[in-house]
Symmetry: C2
Subunit: 130 residues, 2 copies
């Protein structure tokens, strides 16, 4: 991965901003210091950087949003390679430990969602890389 002015600036701004910005918000922010940067470059870099584990992309991976017909208490497990999503029992109930973690945020916490990430059986068989 090559070190460019744009890439460095994107990382720098994202580290500085604690607002968990969207691609577009980050673009506007970087643009103040690098007016000729393009939105495409921001997207391309966010993609690369999250693939390399340098930044986090929030929310469940795949592009189209997904839905789940049951409100049973359960978590999800998602394959980082192929995007497959499965159910895992348990997860939603707030433990005493969670309450401790969350205390001090000022939020009224109603729910906890857990998502596990990893490789699904099929992708495991296909080896660690590609």
């Amino acid at each position: 991965m090559r070190k460019t002015k744009q890439r460095s600036m994107i990382i720098e701004e994202l580290m500085k901003l604690h607002s968990h910005p969207s691609a577009d918000e980050l673009y506007e922010s970087v643009r103040k210091r690098l007016p000729r940067i393009s939105l495409g470059t921001v997207y391309r870099n966010l993609e690369i950087l999250s693939r390399e584990g340098i930044i986090h992309r929030l929310g469940s991976g795949g592009s189209p949003r997904r839905f789940d017909g049951t409100m049973d208490e359960h978590s999800h497990i998602r394959c980082t390679r192929c995007g497959r999503i499965d159910d895992v029992p348990s997860g939603g109930k707030l433990t005493e430990c969670d309450k401790g973690i969350v205390r001090g945020t000022g939020y009224r916490v109603l729910e906890r969602r857990v998502e596990f990430l990893g490789l699904c059986p099929a992708c495991r068989k296909r080896g660690a890389r590609g």
Copy 2:
């Protein structure tokens, strides 16, 4: 909320499908039994049903995807009303309990992500509704 053929069918198919389908996949599935249903209706209903707590929308709430510049172990807490996202310390490490939960899925689990949902301080002040 009125009970219509389309709405019932959407719920029914979503309950039956365990693939956590996207809106479009669900549309294709429902269309086999209700050929004249429109994609717009599917979207409208998914919106209503998840707002009413009948189904779950996976992934972090807001429409544009958000990013986080740090890979430190931490969780997120999101306001279900205004969409604000804050950091919460701790969260990512896989506990023994998690390992138990995940055993049997066949996945190689690399990471755990936790997202708390609730009302942020500002929204709490503005009351439970509106």
